[in-house]
């Protein structure tokens, strides 16, 4: 008893580290297993089931043969023993799906790259140059984040038309940054604030100019923030629908979400297989990207909210 006490007292940092390392440890020993089953595991698995079932259903539909899709009574609808790649094949070789995928990728990458460059410069200027009115600009950018595309698409369509961008990929590449820049600027401002400004002062004394400071000191230190911003922007681009629906009318320029809804939906009763295959393949790039960068993604999401 006393030994243990002395050990604890002599290693206070150890005790401290223990109590702060895992916040959930706390009082969980008070819970018995049966009680946990009912209050924790049961509701959790129920919620997880509801959250994930649509994806299971999507994947299953994509590989089911047509006759099984529409006859729920003859075959068990929850499983299939003879999966087929027919729907995927049809999608990839008999429709423009690869072109749509390429369009989406192109638009997403270009718009994200443009936005990140613009946001890095803006965020650095607001946080570190602190020019006159920087605080107000920061606030205005937060407000811009709150302007939803649904109230902008009508006037934007006339603007896009005036600039001669209508029905070209540039219409999307140039309008998506309006959604992305406010968000990523806000996120990067938070990251830049955490970089000690003493580093910049040192560089200034050594004769570096602002551009050198930004590219050689601040950016290398802000890589996690850049990755977060990139992934989040990329996801937003991929998810965007209303602009792509309004500004693009030719089939060969459409993005995956719009093309699936407008071009792939025909009267065919057997369309569900290819539709689900299309939805699944369209989500895969994002899910894969997300799987590699979960932590960055979560920190982008929560960081943007917490700031």
């Amino acid at each position: 008893m006393t030994d243990a006490f002395i050990r604890e007292v002599s290693q206070p940092e150890h005790v401290l580290a223990d109590s702060t390392a895992d916040h959930s440890e706390g009082m969980s020993y008070l819970q018995s297993l049966p009680r946990q089953l009912v209050t924790l595991y049961l509701p959790l698995s129920l919620i997880l089931f509801v959250l994930l079932f649509p994806f299971y259903w999507m994947a299953l539909t994509a590989v089911k043969p047509d006759d099984q899709l529409l006859d729920l009574d003859k075959y068990s609808p929850f499983w299939t023993w003879n999966p087929t790649l027919k729907h995927v094949y049809k999608l990839l070789f008999q429709t423009d799906y690869p072109i749509w995928l390429w369009n989406t990728m192109l638009v997403a990458v270009c718009a994200t790259a443009l936005s990140i460059v613009a946001s890095v410069l803006a965020a650095y200027a607001i946080v570190r140059l602190r020019y006159k009115g920087a605080q107000w600009v920061g606030g205005a950018i937060f407000l811009a984040y709150l302007v939803p595309p649904s109230i902008l698409f009508i006037p934007l369509s006339t603007v896009v038309f005036q600039y001669g961008l209508f029905d070209t990929p540039f219409a999307l590449i140039l309008t998506y940054p309006t959604i992305l820049i406010p968000f990523s600027t806000w996120l990067l401002m938070g990251y830049f604030k955490t970089i000690p400004f003493e580093l910049e002062e040192c560089a200034l004394i050594d004769g570096a100019n602002r551009w050198q400071i930004l590219t050689k000191i601040v950016l290398p230190l802000a890589v996690p923030g850049l990755i977060s911003a990139f992934i989040f922007c990329f996801t937003l681009c991929w998810n965007e629908f209303i602009y792509a629906l309004t500004f693009i009318s030719s089939v060969q320029y459409k993005t995956v979400p719009v093309a699936i809804v407008t071009a792939l939906v025909d009267g065919d009763i057997y369309r569900w297989g290819s539709l689900m295959a299309g939805a699944m393949i369209g989500s895969l790039p994002l899910v894969i990207l997300y799987a590699f960068f979960v932590e960055h993604y979560v920190s982008a999401m929560t960081g943007a909210v917490k700031e």
Partner: protein, 330 residues
């Protein structure tokens, strides 16, 4: 430098010191040199790309949209100022009031349930769990997948004939005939609300979880020693400490639910008999499909007061956080 005599060095240093002051420099400091280190000038150039985008494609269209709502513009034809005629017309249009009702119903029900389920899920995920990281990652997947693509999955799940939900309920003997999910007005409303909740819960849960993880466990321990029940612990520790982040998360949630477009457009296109038309989808229908840009803009502009209200809530939520933590403005 090393070969200069001491006195000379100090002169050079004095010289450097002089340069930075106003008077008579040794080498001419041009206006250009001055500009290169001027904060405001540099700030201007650094801000230029972002500002160009936001002004050309955000601020200008926002103003233009409000202007268009006062004109009779059509698709491909610039309009003339007609004053409040569009709003006048809309206020007599029962369909418009139906969409307002739908939007408010959709937003309030979906946001409330998203908050309740999201908070509950966050509390569950904050417990001690095996494979916690993986579960947390999986929970967020509905938020990652593009809305349109998951909406298509829901469209299929809610198919009138081949819905697996109807089929399962039939087999379980809970219903006697297939549910017409998207064909009946109220069924369709609940169906799209359900899909919206499904997509929104992960966002609420994961952001609230991040807030929960900053609450110190010692507070709970102290409360337990004082004999607090689980509900009291939640009500008097978790909830107050979480309020600021709840305010922000819910503002975003309300904002994006209120202006939702994709889900409705994919699943019902506003039907049956306009029962699921939201203001966003209705403005799209009037402006782009029928070509009445002015009227569509008026509908979109009518959303702005609601958005402002949501922003004010967010603002006061943030204020309260600063006050609670005794922080100055940063």
């Amino acid at each position: 430098m090393g070969i200069l005599p001491r006195g000379r060095v100090s002169i050079v240093m004095a010289d450097i010191a002089l340069k930075s002051s106003v008077k008579a420099p040794a080498r001419e400091i041009t206006a250009w040199d001055r500009l290169k280190v001027d904060r405001n000038w540099l700030g201007f150039w650094f801000m230029l790309p972002a500002a160009a985008f936001l002004i050309l494609f955000l601020a200008y269209p926002l103003g233009l949209g409000i202007w268009l709502s006062f004109t009779d513009a059509r698709l491909g034809r610039p309009g003339e100022f007609v004053g409040l005629e569009n709003y006048d017309f809309l206020s007599d249009d029962p369909t418009f009031w139906l969409t307002v009702f739908n939007t408010i119903l959709y937003t309030s029900v979906a946001s409330t349930i998203k908050f309740a389920v999201g908070l509950y899920l966050a509390l569950l995920l904050n417990e001690r769990l095996p494979f916690k990281a993986i579960i947390r990652a999986v929970v967020l997947i509905p938020f990652i997948v593009p809305t349109v693509l998951s909406a298509i999955a829901f469209w299929w799940l809610f198919d009138p004939q081949f819905s697996i939900i109807s089929w399962s309920l039939l087999k379980l003997g809970l219903i006697t005939q297939s549910i017409n999910f998207l064909g009946d007005p109220w069924n369709a409303r609940w169906s799209v609300i359900f899909a919206n909740i499904w997509r929104g819960v992960p966002f609420v849960a994961i952001t609230l979880l991040a807030g929960l993880q900053t609450v110190s466990p010692s507070l709970y321990e102290a409360a337990v020693i004082d004999g607090a029940t689980p509900w009291q612990r939640f009500r008097h520790i978790t909830y107050p400490l979480l309020t600021p982040i709840i305010a922000v998360v819910m503002t975003f949630s309300v904002l994006f639910t209120f202006t939702d477009f994709q889900l409705i457009w994919v699943m019902t296109r506003g039907g049956p008999v306009n029962a699921t038309h939201l203001m966003a989808t209705f403005s799209y229908q009037r402006a782009i499909m029928s070509g009445y840009l002015g009227e569509g803009s008026a509908i979109a502009t009518a959303m702005i007061p609601f958005l402002l209200a949501a922003i004010l809530v967010s603002w006061f939520g943030l204020q309260r956080r600063k006050w609670q933590q005794g922080e100055e403005n940063d």
